[in-house]
């Protein structure tokens, strides 16, 4: 009995409220916004998956327990540490230059004298195919085997730039049989750069 009375009272209140509110309230519908067709290019781009920049694990929050922290990063003895009889500072260097549209790999000795160079374009991939991870991997395997033929087995890798070839080029070098000692990032980053080019219109 009591509950029904309360309910009816509540209903009456609701009606009163709605009558009062009817004056200046517009209904808000969120479904139309959600179901809107993709009309502009900007929205279409936003709905696409993010481009692969070879930065897997960038946003990852995980604990690397299995790795030995002490031998993961270089210290003051690193330049003289021996790898297959060669000190670290005299190991040949694989420089990988990655951009969204191409990947260029070059092998230099420790002084920086170039020995081999190869890019996805030289490999036979043309136009947009140059800027794919498959192209980068194929190029890396080719140049890696060439380096092996020259008798180079242990190298350090230096990567510059972001692009689809960043990870796959390193993977390709390993697949060709080279022993990669270390990976260095030499991307040029400045906090007060000269004015960059105008942003692309989308």
């Amino acid at each position: 009995m009591l509950s029904t009375r309360i309910l009816t009272g509540f209903r009456r209140l609701c009606i009163l409220d709605s009558n009062k509110l009817d004056v200046g309230v517009r209904s808000i519908s969120t479904t139309t916004v959600a179901n809107r067709e993709v009309d502009s290019r900007k929205e279409m781009l936003r709905s696409l998956p993010a481009p692969d920049e070879g930065t897997a694990g960038e946003r990852a929050i995980d604990i690397d327990g299995r790795m030995q922290k002490d031998s993961l990063f270089p210290d003051e003895d690193t330049p003289n540490r021996l790898f297959h009889g060669t000190p670290f500072k005299e190991l040949p260097i694989f420089n990988i230059r990655v951009s969204p549209n191409n990947t260029i790999l070059s092998l230099t000795d420790y002084k920086g004298v170039p020995k081999l160079i190869r890019s996805c374009g030289v490999e036979g991939f043309k136009h947009t195919k140059k800027g794919t991870n498959i192209a980068a991997q194929a190029t890396a395997i080719t140049i890696g085997t060439k380096a092996m033929e020259r008798g180079i087995k242990t190298v350090r890798v230096s990567v510059r730039g972001l692009g689809p070839g960043r990870m796959s080029a390193i993977k390709g070098l390993q697949m060709s049989g080279l022993n990669i000692v270390s990976i260095t990032d030499s991307t040029r980053v400045s906090w007060n750069p000269p004015r960059p080019r105008k942003a692309k219109k989308l």
Binding site: P79, S186, R197
Partner: protein, 87 residues
């Protein structure tokens, strides 16, 4: 600022696991904001974009600080052994 090459931003490959080394490197670069800065400086950031980004970051920092405080408050402990079984 220039740093010694092959000392800075370098990770050794352990047990021939190149991918894990890459992931560690990427995570560090991401956390330090180096990759974000690189992406931001590919194209000119107009003053209005700069202003909006800075304001957004400020708000986010304030929210995160308050949220951290709240979480610490909820997780507060007053026991002789605060984490039993975790010795």
């Amino acid at each position: 600022m220039r740093h010694a090459r092959f000392i800075a931003r370098t990770v050794f490959v352990q047990n021939n696991d190149v991918e894990a080394a890459c992931r560690v490197l990427n995570r560090i670069l991401g956390k330090e904001g180096i990759l974000d800065q690189f992406r931001r400086t590919r194209f000119y950031e107009k003053p209005f974009q700069f202003r909006r980004r800075i304001n957004f970051e400020k708000c986010k920092a304030i929210y995160n600080e308050d949220m951290d405080r709240k979480i610490q408050f909820v997780l507060r402990k007053n026991r002789a052994d605060p984490y039993p079984g975790c010795q």
